[in-house]
Amino acid sequence: MSSRMLHRDRRRGGPILSVEDLRTAFFTDKETIRAVDGASFEVHKGETVGIVGESGSGKSVTARSIMGLIESPGEVLDGRIRFRDRGTLERFADSFSGKTVDVAGIDDDEHAATAGNDDFVFVEEWSGNDPSGGYVDVTRASPSALRKLRGNGIAMIFQDPLSSLNPVYTVGNQIKEALRLHQGLRGRAATEEAVNLLEAVSIPDAKRRITEYPHQFSGGMRQRAVIAMALACEPEVLICDEPTTALDVTIQAQILELLNGIQEERGLAIVFITHDMGVMAEVADRLNVMYAGEIVETAPIEELFANPKHPYTQGLLESIPGRHPDDDRLRTIEGDVPTPNEPATDCRFAPRCPEAFEECEAVHPVSVPVNEGTNDHTAACLLYPEDESREAAVETHRRRGSNSEVSIDE
């Protein structure tokens, strides 16, 4: 509990990562899949932000967009992904001075207009000749800058640790390679640091273990080795896409404990993706609920579980076994998750929503505070803000929705 309070305090510094109106689509022969369709959220230093949603809702595509890992037939169509880390900013302004733009004193909305087509380092504040405030916009970064960023600023671990490990090299060599690339360590120093890292992820007998191959590790151990590799890059943000889904509960508990320890020690910001509400309740400080490419609700974790506002979130929580121990039957949500092919002109949840009314099929809901008194609990549903009359609320959504359409086509 107290660690959660701590996280709250750390939020004052402003977000280290902000995703704004992200749109990523896949153009296949058959159809266009708007996998992420206008997602926005923030991550602050030292906190864990969760993204939960059903299969195909766009969680992994969101993560891969942040990492700059979207490849053809996929494309990031729109939006900003701003990474605000002073060390990275300084390094990037130095290595990519030709792609750096001075936006000090310029309004946030005008940044894109000020920048040249392939600029991606934005400096908002200077201390002397050095940039002291600003960000790197991942959506605009060049491939070589992305590679640099993936190494140093943002790291990711996946559900299947084998996808991040090379079967023909020892675990030690792979960690040492990461150390060489990102910290310039070689030889004995690299070996020592590799052992330290394996010990840091609680792999006993690390000295022997670094001489072994991934296939000689158990599933949980492999995931630890991948975490050690990510730590070798000294990231500020760690994106975890279902890191424990393939593991047994007892091993999952070990990995969650490990991530928690590392976060506390290094002040890491974590984006944690899972479809398991139990795991989410345990790790996240704030939670984003995704449905068909959109973030439909955001709130601090306790608030979201205690007072879910979006009808989809309500349905999702209700369908977890054990929420209503006295009911014989589990509660369900009618129908299936749609695949978004067209830009939304309605509420994508309307066909399944028990609360749906006429306008739900004509107005696309945008994220709004659920009521006047709050600004850290938002929902994309025409029922909110709940203290406005239905007509007024719908009007708010209609107006804000059409505004954002305009800014997209600019």
Binding site: T250, L316, S319, R331
Partner: protein, 464 residues
Amino acid sequence: MSETVQRDEESVVDDALVEVTNLKTYYGEGGLLSDNPVKAVDDVSFGIRRGETLGLVGESGCGKTTLGRTLVQLERATAGSVSFDGTDVTELSGDDLKNWRRNAQMVFQDPESSLNDRMTVGEIVREPLDVHDWNSSRERRQRVRELLETVGLREEHYYRYPHQFSGGQRQRVGIARALALEPEFVVLDEPVSALDVSVQAKILNLLEDLQDEFGLTYLFIAHDLSVVRHICDRVAVMYLGNVMEVGDGEELFDDPANPYTHSLLSAIPTPDPTSQRDRITLRGTPPSPRDPPTGCPFSTRCPAKIRPEAHADIDDDLWERIEVLREILRERNRADRSLTERARELLGMDTRFSDIDEILQEVFQTPAGTDAGTGTEGTTESGDPLAGVPSTVSEPIERAAEHVRSGEEGRAREVLREEFGSECDTEMPAHHEVSESDRTSLCHRHKFEHDEPSAFFERTVFDG
């Protein structure tokens, strides 16, 4: 207070449809590896009542699927019996076996791969009817249509292919197929594990409806305990081929008897962010079923393991470190064998086995409570790693270390076992009855001379 159950003769539960007695299923027997089989199911006994759902839970590789497959005779038992309505089906063969199979069906975990993608949904569901020559072909088609409707699919799905379906729909197809021959008993192997919660809820409701309608008896294999708690009447907890605890589900969840059940339950995240439970995090991974521990199967990871009298007063942190040391030596022994194929590469690498001092350093010198993270912090590099440790502990560890130095790791493990081991390391526990409702638990702690596991956990986890 608890008594040992003699299960070889008497019936385990009343009105049992399935009765499993001393069942063993080993893999790799008979071939080259005959002296070292994988003991996937290792002497298991329990009953399943007519019309009930028995949950089977445990970590991956503990033998759940093998046990399920053995019950429906997709796997041959190595020893023991599975009696179904009084008939020992491990004895059946030929036509008798084929006929009996109609009674016992299985639904598999992965809706992606368990259905043949080249067959239409109709053909998939009809296949068991064809195999058993069930009635006329027109009646078969009719039966398939009914079955599709029963599981919530539509008639027009008959001619579609599995890949055109969602995970939940494919699982419905698997269920329809399993029900085709009107079995009495169905093994459901992780039927909802690959599904999202909202889809999972629908399939669980469907399974319950079908059970009511057709009077089915289920063995429900799962690792999600909230699902098991919801759907099962009784629950069996498996670890390393053994049933550690079996009995009434509500009781088992509310008041677990076995240390492994305690640990498993505590590892499960609860969907409640305000919950402040203390968690027991187990160290390491389960041992290989090829090489299970000599005593209790859980003894290498059990947080409640009984200590020998002489060391009863060592503080918990030091005791944990001793266990870690023992685990490292055991692990090296295992790793050793699989390394033969790398022998060439290892030539010249004599360092592997001479670094016991570094291990002692790692195990005994890192500050307490730093298992997650602080490995990079400096430790006192020189000096005796056992300096702060009482001589009753350091002396035997030194003796063991000496054996390692002279290349006799086996001797070293023995020294540690003799000194720090207890009956948990040497004797297989019995199944003790732990409640009025016939719940049993496999653990020495139920013997009168020891504290019960729950008393132990109460004391150490919740006070410490």
